[in-house]
Amino acid sequence: MRYLPLTDTDRQDMLSVIGASSVDDLFVDVPAEARLPGKIAGLPDHASELAVERHMAALARKNLSAGEAPFFLGAGAYRHHVPASVDHLIQRGEFLTAYTPYQPEIAQGTLQVLFEFQTQVARLLGCDVANASMYDGSTACWEAIGMARRITKRGKAILSSGLHPHYVSVANTMAKFTGDVLVHEAPTLEAVTDIDALIAGIDKDTSCVVVQYPDILGRIADLTPLADAAHAAGALLVAVVTEPVALGAIKAPGHMGADIVVGEGQSIGVGLQFGGPYLGLFACKQKYVRQMPGRLCGETVDAAGKRGFVLTLSTREQHIRREKATSNICTNSGLCALAFSIHMTLLGEKGLRELAVLNHGLTVQAADRLAKVPGVTLLNDSFFNEFTLILSKDAREVVRNLADKGLLGGVSLGRLFPDAPEIGNGLVVAVTETVTAEDIEAFAKALEEELA
């Protein structure tokens, strides 16, 4: 029991200080019928580090990891190269094993990182302010809808058909209990986004329009007309970014009039990790800062006049406001925010732009190559590092068959939108800097065989 330092002698000495004859005496307040007499039956006993590592490694080997195959999956989670120093630095015990910085005098490391992170996120998304992170993109998206309701005092949100379906599901779940009305339809396979339809749908009851950029099919549209239409009706524009690397190449939503910009920060620094932990990004205009959910770090001075950082505006939060809080969120994604911030610092603006250009260049090559495969049509006119192919048959089956051949070839729309069989032939394909020319060729060949 290598994590338990007390010896039996220690335990006896401590019991005598306490004045108890056995440890069981310390559990007297547990009703006798609920006290377990010994260890729970049917479970294994403690195991050596070696034995546990063997067990877990055997399970890990049963998976086909992204690095082992030509890999083209995206749809809200992207595989980027993370520099070695990022993982080294986040494993510094002073970061890894610290708690929420409630005692700022001995948490300036975490706090300064959060202040830098907030600034990086705000600038990347084109907003005035950002918070210190949320759980992930999907929960950040729902929190933005709730924030728009508080600001506009209206209860109807219009969700773009291009919004990630899991984000829509999360919002639908929450709305059932809060009474918000959500308007949403599944996407159709067209080259243009649904911006015109969204504009037409805005009315005096609309709290916000939620639009993903680039959207779930990879399409990119100027959000400015949508922002103008929303504002003219007294509604807000919420933009969702699931691939922040894109913002090294395309305009920031905040600069096109979005009032709240949320996102999934996973693709910078965090890694795939089978879906979590991820990193919710949350930014908005300065005038809405007091309606924001989540933690905020702010600059101040100490008693000696030195610059320092503290958690601030906590009167919005549950531990102070209890049932009147802006959100029930407590824990955020601190360590993922650190990873994001370190990776972003390594990149800098220069590196981010290079990374974005490289992603886009490879993606253009892949899209053109795959579009030449018989039975394949490229849906998109515009895209960053992800696009949608329309296949000559159901894409779910194609994806499964490709996997059997050791190739991870995109995400089928059938899996993302099981209730919309009319778009079942769609396949969402992502291409990052980790994809090689050989991978693209292998994918094209395999697709050709599959569709023949």
Binding site: M14, R35, F115, E116, Y135, D136, T139, T300, G348
Partner: protein
């Protein structure tokens, strides 16, 4: 002074007072290094990453190319490593010493957990990869779920909630869905005064009216008051057990029976499961839903504020309403049940709470920890956690007021109050004094039911020597605060910063960096 013949002194001169705090030109003090912001030391022309040359293509960005300066400074790799290493040294952490934050359970984070989570078979796995390629990952979720169900004596578990408060949300949504399914609209949730702030916040978020339940003088839920309040409008009672005063709710089973008899459900805040794992099963106490903070009881790292992970164990009555997705074993295959496949046998689900499937990176760590301890080790975890807390309680209750110390042993945390401190001295002074003594302060001013609360949770991963050192420090501080030692009000003296001005931060919020010339122009 002893000198080598070349003139280099080899032994120090005797100190005088003025020597102790000379200013330095840099503001650095030997190993205590000041570190500027990346916006002050970096440049948008610098990068620490090299990329292959991009293919020359005609861009298809929809005429939306970003042309503005983004304002993201870069650092070379060496500067990056140094920046974050320097910042890390301004943090206190469990790796440095005892971190007695009551209710937060800061226990040792085994490094095997980190190693396992980073195995490519787990870390480099896409959440939407075909199920045939992620059987090992689904097996991890299934295996961890089985442990959690068995350890709690419950019916099933929802794995996807992202953190404790998200788990609370999951539990209450399941309760609300169950009530709606039987056509029983109820509007009130009862929450004890001593509850975590997330409890009332979550209840309100789900559209419920929150009402307080009073506590008895011995720090527990007032059973008679609770029974009197139960009625057809009460949907659920949220109880933390062991509670935030560090006490086991003796009447838990009676409470559950009364709540069930009134047609309501019992939500248990499992933040303090650490105290009873392997010794008590919440399922035996009538609990309907309870979240488990994997980052507390099961040792996944707190990382300066997350990520957490909050699976929720459910009773048979609530299981049909559990969120999507979840993992099932069908024959020798593991299946991820999501929207596409749920209709056949999980049609009552209240829906999805999160994109993808939850905190996989925390599942691998927690399962690694659980397998390391096993059934016998986990029971010892609770035993030692409770033993350590009682040792602290009884080693200090002669100098610090222990409001519930008379009512018997505590569980995993010892609660003290500020009663008896000299006029003008507060819990904050003791907390800041602990910083100078080399410890992280305890949880302060929580729970709200005790004036100037100091909630000390040592956890089971502290040695007796570490506890004795902590007791020595806290005893000394208690004596100084009772004696009115004014110097204590200036603490901390030796931390990277003195006390920080939180009022200024909130009154004029500065939440992002602005270049000084722009900041000046704005004023």
């Amino acid at each position: 002074m002893t000198m080598l013949k070349e003139g280099r002194p080899t032994a120090p001169q005797a100190l005088n007072e003025a020597d102790t705090t000379p200013a330095t030109a840099t503001g650095n003090r030997a190993l205590m290094l000041e570190e500027a912001l990346i916006f002050e030391i970096g440049s948008t022309e610098t990068t620490g990453v090299d990329f292959a040359e991009a293919p020359k293509v005609v861009s298809r960005l929809g005429n939306l190319a970003r042309t503005d300066g983004i304002g993201l400074p870069g650092l070379s790799e060496q500067e990056t490593v140094r920046h974050y290493t320097r910042l890390s040294r301004q943090n206190y952490a469990i790796d440095l010493g005892l971190f007695p934050l009551g209710s937060c359970t800061m226990k040792h984070n085994p490094r095997l957990n980190e190693k396992v989570a980073r195995m490519p078979g787990f870390a480099d796995l896409h959440p939407l990869a075909p199920q045939s390629t992620v059987q090992g990952a689904l097996a991890v979720i299934h295996e961890l779920a089985a442990w959690l169900v068995t350890l709690t004596g419950m019916h099933s578990v929802a794995m996807s909630p992202k953190a404790g408060a998200h788990g609370e949300l999951c539990g209450l949504l399941a309760i609300r869905a169950a009530l709606e399914a039987r056509g029983d609209a109820r509007s009130v949730i009862l929450v004890p005064e001593s509850a975590h702030g997330t409890n009332p916040a979550t209840a309100a978020f789900c559209g419920y009216k929150v009402e307080d339940i009073p506590a008895t003088p011995d720090g527990r839920v007032d059973l008679e008051a609770l029974k009197a309040r139960l009625g057809p409008d009460v949907a659920a009672v949220m109880i933390t057990n062991p509670n935030t005063c560090g006490l086991f709710e003796r009447d838990m089973k009676t409470i559950s029976d009364a709540v069930h008899a009134a047609g309501a459900f019992v939500y248990c805040d499992g933040a303090n499961f650490n105290a009873i794992v392997g010794r008590v099963r919440p399922g035996d106490l009538g609990v309907d839903a309870m979240h488990i903070n994997l980052h507390k009881t099961f040792s996944t790292p707190h990382g300066g504020g997350g990520p957490g992970s909050g699976p929720v164990v459910l009773s048979e009555a609530l299981a049909p309403f559990a969120p999507l997705p979840f993992v099932e074993k069908q024959g020798d295959k593991f299946v991820l049940v999501e929207e596409e496949t749920a209709e056949d046998h999980h049609g009552q689900t209240f829906g999805r709470m999160v994109a993808f499937h939850g905190q996989m990176g925390m599942f691998t760590r927690a399962l690694t920890y659980i397998l390391s301890h096993g059934a016998d080790g986990l029971r010892q975890v609770a035993t030692d956690a409770v033993l350590n807390a009682n040792y602290i309680l009884r080693s200090l209750d002669d100098v610090l007021d222990a409001p519930f110390g008379g009512s018997g042993p505590c569980m995993h945390e010892a609660l003290f109050s500020d009663k008896g401190l000299a006029e003008g001295f507060t819990t904050l002074d003791i907390a800041k004094g602990l910083i100078d003594e080399g410890f992280h302060p305890m949880t302060m001013y929580f729970p709200l039911v005790v004036h100037g609360a100091m909630l000390v949770e040592p956890t089971e991963t502290e040695s007796k020597a570490a506890l004795d050192q902590f007791i020595l420090a806290l005893r000394s501080l208690a004596e100084r605060a009772k004696a009115g030692d004014e110097a204590l009000k200036g603490a901390p003296y030796f931390a990277p910063r003195r006390r920080l001005d939180e009022t200024l931060a909130a009154r004029k919020p500065v939440l992002t960096w602005t270049e000084p010339e722009l900041a000046e122009a704005a004023e």
